[in-house]
């Protein structure tokens, strides 16, 4: 029962925070709220017997990535969303796009929920299978990472390299400027 309560609390928090993220005009607040949401998710991960992921979530996501965002927000010094009037000639450029997208998002939720409800084998308790110790073991995670996921792991290094080079290429100041 507490599990359920905790689950609802955390999920509620995550959803609420996320909803606030996209309901914010100020990106600074958005980042902060997103960190909160990530925190809630980390809680859910713990509940799902994935403590390592939860830690990584806090450290990598909330700690690293979000800080990156913050840096940029501050660097650009453009806290407010650009509310200037823009060209209203085209229907798709008006607020309609937002509303339309939101509606589609709603539709997506409905679709997914409906699919989930019709799927019969997902209603089992999430922890019905597997050994908690195995699942939550960092050792297992590490072993998996360097055996089955060895190649993916190596590939990730290339990914990071690309991101690095790319970020440098794009963001550095022009020489001589």
């Amino acid at each position: 029962m507490p599990d359920t309560l905790i689950f609802y609390a955390l999920s509620g928090l995550a959803i609420l925070a996320s909803a606030l993220v996209i309901g914010q005009r100020n990106p600074m607040y958005s980042v902060m709220l997103l960190i909160a949401s990530f925190g809630a998710l980390a809680g859910l991960y713990i509940q799902l017997d994935a403590p390592f992921v939860a830690v990584a979530q806090i450290v990598i996501y909330a700690g690293a990535i979000m800080v990156l965002f913050l840096f940029v927000v501050m660097l650009l010094n453009a806290p407010q969303e650009d509310a200037a009037e823009w060209d209203r000639t085209h229907p798709l450029r008006q607020g309609g796009v937002g509303r339309f997208g939101a509606m589609l998002a709603l539709l997506l939720v409905v679709q997914l929920a409906w699919a989930l409800m019709r799927a019969n084998d997902v209603s089992d308790a999430v922890s019905s299978r597997g050994d908690v110790a195995t699942v939550s073991s960092v050792r297992e995670v590490g072993r998996g990472l360097f055996t089955d996921y060895m190649f993916a792991f190596e590939a990730t290094s290339i990914l990071i390299l690309v991101a690095m080079v790319g970020a440098v290429v794009l963001a550095r100041q022009e020489r001589g400027q």
Binding site: L112, D121, M150, F151, A152, A155, G166
Partner: protein, 480 residues
């Protein structure tokens, strides 16, 4: 370390090493030192090509997630060719636009490595990661002309939509994983074949989301919106590269996932892809008609070509699978060469990519005009070019599976597409220029060599396609 399980990654390893070498060379090069960094890339690519040749028919796999089957190797070969041609075309572009050489080549090569990975990946996660590798590389290449707002805008649009769509793709992987317990394609395939899951809506959701991810990368309608903008904004040669390399890799993975792992669900995905193919062919060609910017026009044309490739996927018979491979090759060479011409004619301050800029090109650059014409005719699918053989192959697949409707749509749209290809020819050959000649750079020899090579290939494969068709047929014999 060099056991058999390592062989399959050798091609991409070659390329990756070349990329690293390019980075290193750039890092250690003196400020004004000229260095043949592109040469490094070509060496790496040739190495990859040789590795492919050696791996041919050996059907090895590494780490369980990279399989060097003939299918993957064929696409890898296509990517090698794309890479070599791109590098050859690039030298002039880099010179003229003063782009950061080392980073450019490194990203290009990393991108190719990612593509190779994607083409040979046997694991959805690896597909995703490689997709990200190549995407990130291409995003950056798109925006590499930082001083050009259009270039940056293109990169931004491509990036934003790419990220958006990859989230869907990832979501699809998540469902697939959740339902089948694995991300390995062979296991998924085995699982789906064993369980009757067609009544499970979740697997269909997974299917749909994966479809979206791939459809985005191959710019199928309605996931194509980024394409014209990105293609137009990117430097021409990058456009050439991404319109061929990315598409080849994405299609390889698409075909692999849908024709092996999700083969049991073909009843479910074929109608959707049918619609996508039809819509893509129609929209690509129709909107292409209205374009006045050559790059943008070719962007729509490449959308349409994606549609033709989808037809091969719909047909999903032996011919269709081989046809996809052959068509990828045909399209890659042709399209790349066409963009190569555009790239070579672009000067630093004006890209000269409006159709009217090509007026009278015949008189100033007869060889370029002629080769451009060959490329356009090949894109239009006229014999005796490779484009014709490709189209013929694709549509015979469709007909063999009884998709006459799709074949007819494809044929008719290809007629319409000929219209806009011919408009370029009209400009080059049949219109006289009023006003001053646009400023055009000196045409580099390297680019001409690449172009000549492409044209020779276009004709060679158009007239004597047997050998390559056989390779394509062999490629699909080992899987599926």
């Amino acid at each position: 370390m060099f056991n058999s399980s390592f062989d399959a990654v050798v091609p991409m390893l070659c390329v990756t090493l070349a990329a690293l070498a390019a980075m290193g060379a750039e890092a250690f090069r003196a400020r004004d030192e000229k260095m043949p960094i592109g040469g490094l890339g070509i060496i790496g690519l040739v190495g990859a090509g040789v590795a492919c040749a050696l791996l041919w028919n050996r059907n090895t796999s590494s780490f369980g997630v990279i399989v060097a089957d003939n299918f993957g190797l064929f696409v890898t070969m296509v990517l090698v060719i794309v890479g070599i041609l791109t590098i050859m075309f690039s030298s002039q572009v880099l010179e003229v636009d003063n782009l950061p050489r080392g980073e450019y080549y490194a990203l290009l090569l990393f991108g190719i490595a990612g593509m190779m990975m994607m083409a040979t990946a046997n694991d959805l996660l690896v597909v995703f990661i490689s997709l990200e590798i190549l995407s990130l590389a291409v995003y950056v290449l798109t925006g590499i002309r930082r001083d050009d707002p259009r270039s940056t805008e293109a990169a931004f649009k491509y990036f934003l939509l790419g990220a958006f769509s990859s989230a869907f793709f990832l979501y699809g992987i998540a469902f697939t994983y959740g339902l089948t317990g694995s991300t390995r394609l062979d296991r998924i395939g085995a699982f789906l074949a064993a369980q009757s899951m067609s009544d499970n809506p979740l697997i269909l959701v997974a299917l749909g989301l994966l479809l979206v991810g791939f459809a985005f990368k191959i710019s199928a309608v309605p996931f194509h919106m980024w394409t014209p903008d990105a293609y137009e904004g990117a430097p021409a040669i990058v456009t050439g590269f991404m319109s061929t390399g990315v598409k080849a890799a994405a299609f390889a993975a698409f075909a692999r996932v849908f024709l092996s792992a999700f083969e049991p669900f073909s009843q479910q995905w074929v109608p959707v892809i049918w619609v996508l193919a039809a819509a893509t062919m129609i929209l690509g060609t129709v909107v292409g008609v209205a374009q006045s910017n050559l790059k943008r026009m070719l962007a729509y044309s490449s959308i349409a070509h994606g549609g033709y490739l989808l037809v091969g996927l719909v047909a999903a018979n032996q011919i269709g699978k081989a046809a996809i491979l052959f068509y990828l090759l045909a399209y890659a060479i042709t399209n790349l060469a066409a963009f190569g011409v555009i790239a070579m004619l672009a000067s630093s301050n004006d890209e000269n990519e409006e159709l009217r800029d090509y007026k009278g090109l015949w008189h100033t650059h007869p060889a370029l005009a002629a080769m451009m014409t060959v490329c356009l005719l090949s894109l239009g699918g006229l014999p005796p070019t490779v484009g014709f053989v490709g189209k013929w192959y694709i549509f015979s697949a469709a007909v063999s599976s009884g998709y006459y409707g799709l074949a007819v749509i494809g044929m008719l749209t290809s007629v319409v597409s000929v219209f806009f290809y011919l408009r370029v020819v009209v400009m080059m050959y049949m219109s006289e220029r009023e006003g001053p000649e646009p400023v055009r750079p000196r045409i580099a020899r390297m680019g001409m060599v690449a172009l000549t090579l492409s044209v020779i290939l276009i004709f060679y494969l158009g007239i004597l396609p047997t050998r390559v068709l056989d390779y394509a047929a062999e490629s699909i014999a080992t899987i599926f």
